[in-house]
């Protein structure tokens, strides 16, 4: 099954905002190319400046690679979705949802509160993904989903668009 892109109009109905665009990906690296094409279309549609576009690319890369590597343990055959919503002209939100076991990436943010690492530790890989997301996103929020027996995780990443 190929990744699918569903394009709909942004709809405001009694306080709810439906996705402007939805991308469904499989839990495999090959599908990342579709993600970048999808993001490029959104960047063009909203005339997003390069530095904000860089942050969107970076944050989605971190969020989705977290789902594939940690949530799904790098196992293919799973699905995740990315929704883009724009509740107003100033904000853009990307919501990444999966059906993986509970995994709150923001819990790793405690890393930032640790004392400054020794110089020899600065080249130790790992633990920087969430730090980078916090730097480049305007907002980031995690929610555990309870959908019957399946469950899942939702990470919402927000960006303020320059006026």
């Amino acid at each position: 099954m190929n990744a699918t892109i569903l394009l709909t109009e942004t709809m405001h109905t009694e306080g709810t905002v439906k996705p402007t665009s939805r991308l469904t990906l499989k839990s495999q690296l090959d599908d990342m190319a579709m993600l970048w094409a999808w993001v490029a279309a959104i960047v063009a549609e909203y005339a997003i400046p390069p530095d904000t576009a860089f942050g969107i690319h970076l944050c989605l890369e971190e969020a989705i690679s977290n789902v594939i590597r940690h949530g799904y343990s790098s196992q293919p055959g799973h699905i995740l979705t990315v929704d883009c919503t724009s509740p107003n002209a100033r904000e853009l939100f990307f919501t990444v949802e999966d059906q993986a076991p509970p995994f709150d990436p923001l819990a790793l943010s405690l890393i930032e509160e640790l004392p400054a690492p020794a110089p020899e530790d600065l080249l130790r890989p790992g633990g920087r993904g969430i730090l980078l997301m916090r730097k480049f996103a305007s907002t980031i929020a995690y929610q555990r989903l309870e959908n019957g027996n399946r469950g899942g995780n939702r990470l919402t990443i927000g960006f303020v668009l320059p006026q």
Binding site: L29, L58, S65, L123, P125, L132, K135
Partner: protein
């Protein structure tokens, strides 16, 4: 993600990276980067054509960096874009792997 190498004056090995250093790009270059780092003592990593640098891409720099420094070698980052610099600085990598935008200064730092 493309990787090319060149022998530079002064016994320096230059590695030019071109493309997205995300999870896909990092997977494509990790083995080559580690092989290069295992065989050189002066390494210049040219990032001027890198468009995105994520945490997995950082790993592709940090592991070779550790390998070179652990044997008494030197390593510099050359000409990253402004946004890539912001990733390097946010990660504090620049305090261990210095960033240079001038080639003469970069090669001098490796001597």
């Amino acid at each position: 993600m493309q990787l090319s190498t060149q022998d530079m004056d002064g016994g320096i090995t230059g590695v030019e990276l071109d493309g997205r250093m995300d999870i896909v790009g990092a997977t494509a270059i990790d083995l080559k980067m580690n092989l290069i780092a295992g065989s050189v003592k002066k390494l210049l990593i040219d990032l001027q054509k890198v468009t995105v640098l994520g945490s997995m891409g950082l790993r592709s720099i940090m592991l070779p960096g550790r390998a070179v420094l652990s044997k008494g070698g030197k390593i510099v980052i050359f000409a990253p874009t402004e946004m890539v610099v912001s990733v390097l600085k946010a990660s504090n990598i620049d305090s261990v792997l210095p960033i240079h935008h001038d080639l003469a200064a970069a090669t001098a730092a490796l001597q």
